[in-house]
């Protein structure tokens, strides 16, 4: 179980949140300028790294806002902005 810190509510149980998935790369400014391979890559190939991932969580059973955290997909540690374990 994760303990996720909401900026409004403070540390709360993972079960209060809905996972909103990883932050997606920005949409290219001019998709028409991309090769088909790069465009398809942007649209359909998600990153799935082992290690820190920036991701969204929705505090549905709480204050209702979206929270962005960095979570290590291997250790489950939630990291601060500098990549340090927050515990």
């Amino acid at each position: 179980m994760l303990k996720i810190t909401c900026p409004f509510c403070g540390p709360r149980n993972e079960s209060e949140f809905v996972h909103g998935g990883p932050e997606k790369p920005r949409r290219p400014e001019d998709p028409a300028a991309l090769s088909d391979t790069d465009w398809i890559d942007h649209l359909t190939v998600p990153d799935n790294p082992m290690g820190p991932v920036r991701e969204k969580w929705w505090h549905l059973r709480g204050c209702g806002q979206w929270v962005t955290i960095t979570r290590d997909t291997v250790s489950h540690d939630i990291l601060d902005e500098d990549g340090h374990d927050r515990r």
């Binding site: 409004f8 709360r12 549905l60 059973r61 709480g62 204050c63 209702g64």
Partner: protein, 166 residues
């Protein structure tokens, strides 16, 4: 075994869900001689009326049901600023009182919220989870109040009674 706790399902409260800029909500509440709470997830109380700060730009105004008309009249402003939302939700929630020496023990079964006084103070009020449902928890002098969607009130009452008499 059972916990030294009294569970009581309350009658309806007058409830107004308020969203928008703090400045504009505060101006409306001033008409009722009410102020916004100072800190997130706390309440501001005046007599038998309370304002809970439950989310960014989100408050819940609560009063006895007999005062519903007075609340609405007090909040009325024509025109209402278009950026804010006031919704009468009196019939949307079922409130329970969990009072007594072991109220915190029952709450600990119901909800993962940290209810220690250092985290959830005297005027604490927050949305959290209870029995897997979205729930409002409010601290009161002799225990807590718990509110869930009213359609889930019977189920929550049953759960609470099962916790008390385990």
């Amino acid at each position: 075994m059972s916990y030294a706790v009294t569970i009581r399902r309350q009658d309806l409260s007058a409830l107004v869900d308020m969203r928008g800029e703090a400045r504009q909500i505060a101006a409306l509440l001033a008409g009722l001689d009410l102020a916004l709470p100072d800190a997130p997830n706390t309440a501001a109380e005046a007599g038998d009326r309370a304002v809970y700060w439950l989310g960014p730009e989100h408050w819940l105004l609560r009063a006895p049901i007999a005062e519903e008309d007075a609340l609405l009249a007090g909040l009325h402003k024509d025109p209402l600023p278009p950026e804010i939302s006031l919704v009468l939700v009196s019939d949307a929630y079922a409130f329970f009182e969990i009072s007594g020496a072991e109220a915190a023990e029952v709450m600990a079964v119901a909800s993962p919220l940290d209810l220690h006084a250092s985290v959830f103070p005297a005027k604490g009020s927050a949305f959290t989870e209870a029995f897997g449902l979205k729930a409002l928890v409010v601290r009161r002098g002799d225990g807590f109040e718990l509110a869930v969607d009213r359609s889930l009130g019977d189920m929550t009452e049953d759960y609470l009674n099962r916790v008390v008499a385990f």
